[in-house]
């Protein structure tokens, strides 16, 4: 792999970015007077800022690198994550769920569960969410550090600690507000950093028509119909017809419904940014406004991946310097067929002259074919198309995306820890200043735990697949709980708790008895890909939770009287007005309908 030398200008660009994000944290420090300021930005953020933060917190390392990798591996079908999954869920949470999140005055998602259900449901969610969110943070960091090691020869450890410390400092100083403001900055930096990549890449492959033609050639050479990489729906009639090995039922229910709604509607990382909004009307608008940048992001993350699969490597890009003799010969083999996606390398211990030595060689699958390392898609694109100067900008944009994702996780963690675990179970009835202090401490140890988790996460290969796996375990059942909680007043605490337990158990069981991942107990069914397995796990998990919650709720008594549930359940909450004075395009309901229509049009265009 070609190792890149960075020049002064690249470092200067990175330094400018770091100075600004730290500076913003520093300036905001004086506004952090109460715990509400620190954890919830005092509920005073304007809608457009919260909306950009909403998208940006989600646009972390996993998105940018993972979507490009998936774009190369699966093609346009990757857009389903945006055009099928995200938009409908975001619209739903904004229009239908924010009234309960915001109106209930809950300070976090687990706190809503306590108000609506009971303490044990809150505890289960708080603990599982806290663990999951530091895991996600660790994954983001592992991606960053691997990238820096590949591209810059920086030791994994150094990159990890450097990026972690920057995020730690600006959140420690300025709390959620600092995270949100930096996320807005990071959003624009990501877009402006990656747009030149898309433009240059498209120019290189013959623009859109050229890209489609080249991808069709790949599809037919791999044994699929021509459109397998470039159609969003057309090849989803059967699992064998597309490289993702998913058909439309699994996709619509698994990704479109369960996973997407599970994430956007219940994950505190994003919900927190809507809860920080300055009014109920703003809070409802935030997720809906966020759909506007969301539907455009595939252009800057997925399209580069598709380009990488078919672009002709420029001279010197595949310039291997490793010791293994196989790599020199292999380099000529790898490059032309796979564009910019390099073959996977592994380290094995071989007997060289009597001494066991670590040797790098190409990883081969069961048939002896070389495997592709999709995670390296983004660094390879940067090396190919970005000259010194622009390269600094591209790398800084990547750093920005990693930091925005990580900041999302850290702020969600420190809030859930302080309010839902520490204040609820460890030290209740202390002063507000004490909890503010605890929030800062939680920021520190949250980051430290993430660093540890990063070492664990560095083991897995296609990162997106892994993320979905972790999400599914915890998120899939959760959405069923919220749906029933918000729209069915008969749902009880016992029902919710046992439903969640059963759902999470179902996720684990499904993974234990099916492949290709897991199958620790047996392999009753082998799905065509990790993603297909995930989508179906989500479906089974959600259904289990839904059914168990209903059954147990009907079997137990509802302990909360109607007055207590007012503002928490749809049927007991008066319809809120409050947005009649706004222009038509700013009202959440109207905007939601418009965005849904636009999304449908996109699905049709790229059918």
């Amino acid at each position: 792999m070609h190792s890149v030398a960075l020049h002064h200008v690249d470092w200067v660009i990175l330094a400018v970015y770091v100075v600004f994000v730290l500076g913003i944290g520093w300036v905001l420090k004086r506004y952090m007077k109460t715990s509400t300021d620190f954890f919830l930005s005092g509920r005073s953020i304007p809608a457009w800022i919260a909306a950009l933060a909403f998208v940006s917190a989600n646009l972390g390392a996993n998105e940018v690198m993972g979507m490009a990798a998936s774009g190369a591996k699966y093609g346009m079908m990757t857009c389903h994550f945006y055009w099928l999954g995200a938009v409908a869920a975001m619209v739903f949470v904004g229009v239908f769920m924010m009234p309960f999140y915001y109106g209930s005055k809950a300070r976090s998602v687990p706190e809503y569960l306590k108000l609506r259900f009971d303490e044990k449901t809150r505890g289960f969610n708080a603990l599982s969410f806290a663990v999951m969110t530091v895991f996600q943070s660790g994954i983001s960091m592992a991606v960053l550090a691997s990238l820096m090691e590949t591209v810059l020869d920086w030791p994994f450890t150094v990159s990890l600690w450097v990026s972690a410390v920057v995020v730690l400092v600006y959140i420690f100083l300025g709390g959620l507000t600092s995270a949100i403001y930096n996320e807005v900055l990071q959003f624009f930096l990501i877009v402006l950093g990656f747009l030149p990549l898309v433009l240059l890449g498209l120019a290189d492959v013959g623009w859109w028509d050229g890209l489609v033609a080249k991808l069709n050639a790949v599809a037919t050479s791999e044994g699929y119909k021509a459109g397998a990489w470039t159609s969003v729906w057309a090849n989803m009639d059967a699992t064998a017809n597309n490289p993702m090995h998913v058909e439309w039922v699994g996709m619509v229910l698994g990704l479109g419904f369960v996973l997407a709604f599970g994430y956007w509607c219940t994950d505190f990382l994003v919900v927190q940014r809507a809860m920080a909004a300055e009014s109920m009307s703003a809070a409802r608008r935030v997720p809906v406004l966020a759909t506007i940048p969301k539907i455009l992001i595939p252009a800057i993350v997925i399209v580069p991946g598709m380009i990488a699969l078919v672009a002709k490597p420029h001279a010197g890009v595949f310039d291997l310097k490793q010791d293994s003799p196989e790599t020199i010969a292999g380099a000529k083999l790898a490059a032309p067929r796979w564009g910019l996606v390099p073959p996977k390398l592994e380290e094995v211990t071989q007997d060289v002259g009597g001494l066991p030595t670590k040797v790098k060689q190409f990883k081969r699958d069961a048939q002896g074919n070389l495997e592709r390392d999709y995670n390296k898609t983004v660094p390879m694109l940067l090396i190919q198309y970005f000259p010194t100067g622009l390269l600094g900008l591209g790398l800084t944009a990547l750093m920005a995306s990693f930091m925005s994702g990580m900041a999302g996780n850290v702020t969600a963690f420190n809030t859930v820890w302080t309010y839902d675990i520490y204040q609820s179970y460890i030290a209740p009835n202390r002063s507000d200043q004490h909890y503010l202090w605890m929030g800062r401490m939680a920021t520190v140890f949250g980051v430290v735990i993430s660093i540890g988790t990063a070492y664990v996460a560095a083991r897995f290969d296609n990162i997106m697949d892994f993320i979905q796996l972790v999400f599914g375990f915890v998120n899939a059942p959760l959405f069923a709980t919220f749906l029933l909680g918000m729209f069915w007043k008969r749902a009880t605490g016992h029902g919710a708790f046992f439903g969640l337990l059963a759902g999470t158990g179902a996720s684990a069981l499904h993974t234990a008895i099916t492949g290709p991942t897991g199958h620790w107990l047996a392999q009753v069914q082998k799905y065509g890909s990790d993603m297909a397995q995930n989508f179906w796990m989500a479906i089974f998990s959600w259904t289990t939770c839904f059914v168990v919650t209903i059954v147990v709720s009907l079997a137990t008594t509802q302990k909360k009287p109607d007055e207590e549930l007012r503002g928490l359940v749809y049927s007991l909450t008066p319809r809120t007005g409050g947005d009649e004075h706004l222009a038509w395009y700013a009202r959440p309901g109207y905007l939601a309908v418009i965005m849904l229509a636009v999304t449908i049009v996109l699905n049709v265009i790229f059918w």
């Binding site: 200008v9 200067v12 660009i13 400018v16 970015y17 600004f20 500076g23 913003i24 300036v27 905001l28 506004y31 005092g42 509920r43 005073s44 953020i45 304007p46 809608a47 457009w48 800022i49 915001y102 109106g103 005055k105 403001y181 807005v184 900055l185 624009f188 402006l192 030149p196 240059l200 120019a203 290189d204 300055e278 009014s279 109920m280 009307s281 703003a282 809070a283 608008r285 406004l289 420029h314 001279a315 010197g316 190919q384 198309y385 970005f386 000259p387 010194t388 100067g389 622009l390 900008l393 809120t576 409050g578 004075h581 706004l582 222009a583 700013a586």
Partner: protein, 86 residues
């Protein structure tokens, strides 16, 4: 409270100046090798510069006109009143 458009505007202006400044130094071989012969440093540097200035202009306009995007109020700390639910 800080108007985020100001630090953003300044940062992108600075980055734009740096990048386009670097692009003014002739280096045809570099651009031939990477960006298809186009001096992307110069052009994209100008794009960043324009974006930064646009941000600063929007911030300035918001201050003088006291206009807002989407009719929300200019953000302040103490805005706890019953009808906006906080």
């Amino acid at each position: 409270m800080l108007d985020i458009r100001i630090p953003m505007g300044v940062m992108f202006t600075v980055l734009g100046v740096i990048l386009s400044g670097y692009g003014l130094v002739p280096n045809a071989e570099l651009y031939a090798r990477h960006s298809l012969g186009i001096n992307m440093n110069l052009w994209w540097g100008l794009v960043l510069l324009a974006f930064g200035l646009a941000m600063l202009w929007l911030a300035r306009r918001a201050k003088t006109v006291s206009g807002t995007v989407f009719g929300e109020t200019v953000s302040g700390h103490e805005k706890h009143s019953p009808e906006n639910g906080s």
